[in-house]
Every structure is written in structure tokens, then in C-alpha cells.
């Protein structure tokens, strides 16, 4: 789960990592009012995607009127498909130097890795590619946590003159990472100003698996992704015309690849997970079919924990309402029962992923 910049900074502030004074507003009048109190400000679009700056979602304003007009403009924007509903009005802080500090998980070494670069503000992946010598990477043992000497090495690589302040921030950011079950926490830029070191931007991604013990409430977006998640399933929207419902992420990806091989384009990824019941299958069909681009749907189930008769039950409940052609493949647990149930309804059946993929692409083209 991604957090908005303002939410990440609220957490930084709780851990005493310095951030500029700010106020979150959803209309231009609020922006004007905030700017009146702060003086020179920066207006920043709050969206869950990168590249705001290039898209014009960030502006400086030296007067309240200026702040108002910029906020109005930005609140009317949509960045990479994300409408801007809120802007952060922040005191402007002149950076003397812009640095990068981030913590993520190194899958290969199976531990947190802290990355620091004296060159900040721009994309860390660019720096990693073009001047890797400018990034200091320090791996942290998950059971001991960060050692003082490690924080010191990172701080020295950023700005030797401000090592003490930076050591403190690095140790605090590591606590943010651990306490909040982060997959990523990033300060970019981490700026040196005349008043000290300060976090000018903040990014946090929380492990969805850990949300049960974290206090983050997800914003209601009304999206299909959200509807799936609430029902214990996983949905990712894509650009094509073939709706997909599969149990298991690996089989789902194989199904997508196969549809592509047979000349179709998937409209979505959907994993109904192990042990899906009839109700979930029904919901999955509702979600997938609500995408207007979908011309045909493939249901590909290899039952282990998932029972094929449960799947069939779910399909039957909603099948009459769906006007989109279906291809169903059922193998594994209670396969025969499931097939028998669907047989009566004249639903296209397939006996393998390949057959199903080939079939659904054909239906999609003829539809």
C-alpha cells in the first residue's frame, strides 16, 4: 500500500525527522489562507504516482494570491490518470544541497538495505544506472537492526560536515521502516538548508500482508482493485479485451502469457486465491465483467484448496446476468462435479490452460 507524501511526512514528524511546516488543503481558498500564514510556499499535488514535478503538479508561490491560483490549477489536474484531490501547502526551504536516502528490501540478501546518495532530487534508479559509485548501500541484519557504525558510514557518504544530524535521521528512518512494516521508505530530496537537514519529500510503501497490525486505513477509491481486495482477491486492470479469472498468481500469469501467444490481449490480472468459495467466484465475475472493454472471459481453475464444484456454483449464480461469452477450465479437486454442473448451461469448457486460452481468444475476436 502506497502512502501519500503528506501521510509519509506525518509519520516522519512523529519520529522527529525534520519536515517543513505544512497544511493539507482540498480547495484554492484553503491554499490562500495557509500561504498567508507561511510566507513563501510550495504547492504540491498529492497523488500516488511519481513524476508530479514534470507534469506541473508542483509550484512555488511567493504570495497568497499566487498560491491560490496555482492551487486552483493543480487541483484541476489529473496526473497519469490520478485526479488531484488534495494539495500540500508547504513552507519553502532553500536547499543548499539535495541528497537521497531510502530503505528497501534486498530480496537476494533477504534483509533491509539502506541507500544513500549525495546526489538527490532525481530518480535513484537513474543514479544507480549511470553513477553507481555515488550510491552507498548498507545491508542491515534484521535481528540486530542498524549499527551506529553503519549509520555513520551512510552519513559520511552524504555530508561529512553534518554527520551527527544525519546519523540521527538515518537511525530514525530505520525505525520508521521497521515499525511500519515498510517495503520502501524514501526521502528524496533530503536537503541541507541553512537551518539544518530536512526531508523535502517522502514516500512510503507498506507491506499489504502486514496491514492487520498497522493502523493505515485505505482511502476509498471505488476501483475494481479495491473491490477485489475487500473480497480477499487480487485484481490488476490492463488494457486488453479478455477478462481473466484464475486461482493462483503463477497460473494467472501463465494464462495471461498464453492469451498473448494466441493473439489476444488480457483486460486484467485476477487471482481468486486458494480456497475461493462460490460467493467470491460470483464477485470475481461481477468485477471482471464490469469492465466495458471485456469481450470474452476465461475462468481457469486448477483446484487444490479451491473446489471446482464451488467455482461452478458461483458461476451458475451469476451466469444468466452476464452477456459476455465465457470459457471455463476446471481441473483438480471435485473436477467432475464442477464440470457436470456447468454442462447443463452450455458453457464452453476446456481441459487445459492452453485450450482455454485459445478458445477465449477466438470468442473475443468473434464477439
Amino acid at each position: 500500500m502506497k502512502l501519500y507524501e503528506y501521510a509519509a511526512k506525518e509519520i516522519f514528524s512523529k519520529y522527529d525527522i525534520p519536515i517543513p511546516g505544512s497544511s493539507l488543503v482540498s480547495d484554492a481558498d484553503g491554499a490562500e489562507e495557509s500561504a498567508r500564514k507561511m510566507g513563501e510556499v510550495v504547492i504540491k499535488a498529492q497523488v500516488l504516482t511519481g513524476g508530479r514535478g514534470k507534469a506541473g503538479g508542483i509550484a512555488r508561490a511567493s504570495s497568497p494570491e499566487d498560491a491560490k491560483s496555482n492551487a486552483k490549477r493543480i487541483l484541476g489536474m489529473s496526473i497519469k490518470g490520478f485526479p488531484v484531490k488534495k494539495v500540500l501547502i508547504e513552507e519553502y526551504r532553500e536547499p543548499i544541497k539535495e541528497m537521497y536516502l531510502g530503505i528497501t528490501i534486498d530480496r537476494k540478501k533477504k534483509c533491509p538495505v539502506i541507500m544513500a546518495s549525495p546526489q538527490g532530487g532525481i530518480d535513484i534508479e537513474e543514479i544507480a544506472k549511470n553513477s553507481p559509485e555515488n550510491i552507498t548501500m548498507v545491508h542491515i541484519h534484521p535481528l540486530t537492526g542498524i549499527h551506529e557504525y553503519q549509520a555513520r558510514m551512510l552519513a559520511n557518504s552524504l555530508d561529512r560536515d553534518k554527520a551527527r544530524e544525519l546519523i540521527d535521521i538515518i537511525k530514525k528512518l530505520y525505525r520508521v521502516f521497521i515499525d511500519n512494516d515498510c517495503q520502501l521508505v524514501e526521502i528524496n530530496p533530503l536537503a541541507r538548508t541553512k537551518d539544518g537537514i530536512i526531508a523535502l519529500d517522502g514516500k512510503m510503501v507498506i507491506d499489504d500482508n502486514a496491514l492487520f497490525r498497522q493502523d493505515f486505513s485505505e482511502e476509498e477509491t471505488g476501483s475494481l482493485e479495491e473491490a477485489a481486495r475487500k473480497n480477499g482477491m487480487s485484481y490488476v486492470g490492463l488494457d486488453g479485451e479478455i477478462g481473466c479469472i484464475v486461482n493462483g498468481a503463477g497460473l494467472a500469469m501463465a494464462t495471461l502469457d498464453m492469451i498473448k501467444q494466441y493473439g489476444g490481449t488480457p483486460a486484467n490480472f485476477m487471482d481468486v486465491r486458494a480456497g475461493a468459495n462460490a460467493q467470491q467466484v460470483k464477485t470475481a465475475l461481477e468485477i471482471v465483467s464490469s469492465n466495458k472493454n471485456v469481450k470474452a472471459i476465461i475462468i481457469n481453475i486448477f483446484g487444490g484448496l479451491t473446489k471446482c464444484d464451488e467455482v461452478a456454483k458461483g458461476i451458475i449464480e451469476i451466469f444468466p446476468e452476464i452477456k459476455i461469452p465465457l470459457v471455463v477450465r476446471l481441473s483438480g479437486t471435485n473436477e467432475l462435479e464442477g464440470r457436470a454442473m456447468l454442462g447443463k448451461y452450455g458453457i464452453h469448457m476446456a481441459s487445459s490452460t492452453e485450450e482455454a486460452a485459445k478458445g477465449v481468444v477466438g470468442l473475443g475476436h468473434s464477439n
Binding site: 534483509c111 534484521p142 507491506d207 500482508n209
Partner: protein, 287 residues
């Protein structure tokens, strides 16, 4: 006799009284697995499928001689069960549980490395040696004894492939799911080494997917193996930057796309199948 498990493997089910734990215990018994008991705190003294239930692994080991365990407990308690199994000297731990926080697994990993335990999973379908033993949740009917080892990061995709192999008369020595989570206990190389040393295994099917570098890390070993390895890697169509389900299929730092993996394998001269049926062809050609 395949790898890691055989007829003599004595299995404890951690979380045996839960819905899935109990259901799958029945399936494993039907398969012929030697289930010696189960553990559910507070349910000690009861029975599930005529197997005794204990309050702790420690108590279970006083009454049984279990040397393997399979974990069905919910994600918030699963790593505690892994620690309990490790501390009690269980040699093979198979963790089926999906959805364990990654920070919890990062804490398990260095602890696991200093023990002699082998952990399969988490978020894995388990391991099956046909006609001998099955630990986990793979459907009973898909397996067929033979000489092909299967190792995979996926769940249902593994069933699909094993099933297709069996239907095409290609039996398996052992089929292993190492799990789809970013931090798991056993790597492709760990399993490939065992298959290489197993006289009953004549070739290996390896199923990888987008995300991480687990597949790339196995290339050097595969190149020096004496046995043929057929690979199949899914997620070519998964758009970069999107998280494909809970399977840990997150692309980070520009590495781990399926296409990159396929290219790296092909460059190393390792066979890459285009589809499940292509796997069957390539296996037949290789033997």
C-alpha cells in the same frame, strides 16, 4: 527415492485443527503420508483423523518421532510456528501459509540459516514424492511416479504442469514448490543440487516467474549440472511496476522481468518452454 521425503518421513501438522489443516491432513493420509500427529495450542488431548493433537511441538516430540512438519496456521502466527519447529529440531518444515508479513520472514531467515532445518515456503504448495509421501496441498491425483524432478515458485501452475506431465506418461521423482514469497527458505539452487545428486532423477522441470533474481542465481549451477533442465518462466505479459497478486511478483530496481530471465536462460543454453505443453515436448526430447 526422490528428494527430501520418503515413506519413512514422519509428519507433524502444525495447525491441524483448523479448517484447511484438518482437510489437508485427511488428503495427506489418503495419499499415504505418515502423519504422526498435530499441534494446536489449547487443543492438546484431542484427535483429528485419529491422529493425536498436542499443545506444542515439544510435547508432540515426547510422544511421536516426527522429523518433518507442515504449517497451516494463520499468517500472524506462522513465523512463531516456524521458530517452534526449528527450535525443536524438526529437519524439514513445509510452510503452506500465505500472506506472512515480509518483515517477519526477514527475521526468520538468519535464524534458519544457523540451524540445520530445511524450510520449504512459506506460501508454497509443499512437496510430493509419488507413491511415497506428500507434505502439503498438491492435489493427490495429479502425481505419477517417475524420473523427472519438478521445482517451482508457483502453486496452481505447478499442479497444471505436474498433471500435464503425468497425463503424458512423464512420471516425477519429486515435485517441490519453494513458494512465491520474496523471502523464502529454499532456493532453486538448493533443490537443483538435491536433484543432481538423486540417482532416481533423470531430468528437471523448473518453473520460474517474474520478480526477484532467484532464477538468474541458478544459471551458473544449471550450466554445470549433468542432468537436463527444462525451464518455464511466466509473467512476460505482466506490466512492469505492477504487483501481480500476492505472489511477491514485484519488480524492483529494474531486475527480474520475465523477459530478462528468459533471455538470460537462453543465453546460457538452458531450454526455455513456451507453454505447459511445450514443457512436455522439451522433456521428451531431452531424455
Amino acid at each position: 527415492m526422490g528428494i527430501l521425503i520418503d515413506k519413512n518421513t514422519r509428519v507433524l501438522v502444525q495447525g491441524i485443527t483448523g479448517r484447511e489443516g484438518s482437510l489437508q491432513t485427511g488428503q495427506m493420509i489418503d495419499f499415504g503420508t505418515n502423519i504422526v500427529g498435530g499441534v494446536t495450542p489449547g487443543k492438546g488431548g484431542s484427535f483429528v483423523h485419529e491422529r493425536p493433537v498436542f499443545d506444542s511441538v515439544n510435547e508432540a516430540l515426547k510422544e511421536t518421532d516426527a522429523n518433518a512438519s507442515v504449517i497451516f496456521v494463520p499468517p500472524q502466527f506462522a513465523t512463531d510456528s516456524i521458530f517452534e519447529a526449528i527450535d525443536n529440531g524438526i529437519e524439514l518444515i513445509v510452510c503452506i501459509t500465505e500472506g506472512i508479513p515480509i518483515h517477519d520472514m526477514m527475521r526468520v531467515w538468519p535464524y534458519l540459516k544457523t540451524s540445520s532445518a530445511r524450510l520449504l515456503g512459506p506460501n508454497c504448495p509443499g512437496i510430493t514424492t509419488p507413491s511415497a509421501s506428500k507434505i502439503g496441498i498438491m492435489p493427490n491425483q495429479i502425481h505419477k511416479p517417475g524420473n523427472i524432478g519438478v521445482v517451482s515458485r508457483s502453486g496452481t501452475l505447478t499442479y497444471e504442469i505436474v498433471d500435464m506431465l503425468s497425463k503424458n506418461d512423464i512420471g516425477q521423482s519429486t515435485s517441490v514448490g519453494i513458494g512465491g514469497d520474496p523471502v523464502n527458505g529454499t532456493s532453486f539452487v538448493d533443490i537443483l543440487e538435491l536433484f543432481e545428486d538423486d540417482p532416481e532423477t533423470h531430468g528437471v522441470v523448473m518453473v520460474g516467474e517474474i520478480g526477484g533474481t532467484a532464477e538468474e542465481e541458478s544459471i551458473e549451477f544449471i550450466k554445470q549440472m549433468s542432468k537436463p533442465v527444462i525451464s518455464y518462466i511466466v509473467g512476460v505479459f505482466a506490466p512492469p511496476g505492477k504487483t501481480m497478486g500476492h505472489a511477491g511478483a514485484i519488480i524492483s530496481m529494474g531486475v527480474g522481468t520475465a523477459l530478462e530471465k528468459i533471455q538470460a536462460f537462453e543465453k546460457a543454453g538452458i531450454s526455455v518452454a513456451k507453454s505447459p505443453s511445450d514443457i512436455v515436448q522439451l522433456v521428451k526430447n531431452s531424455l
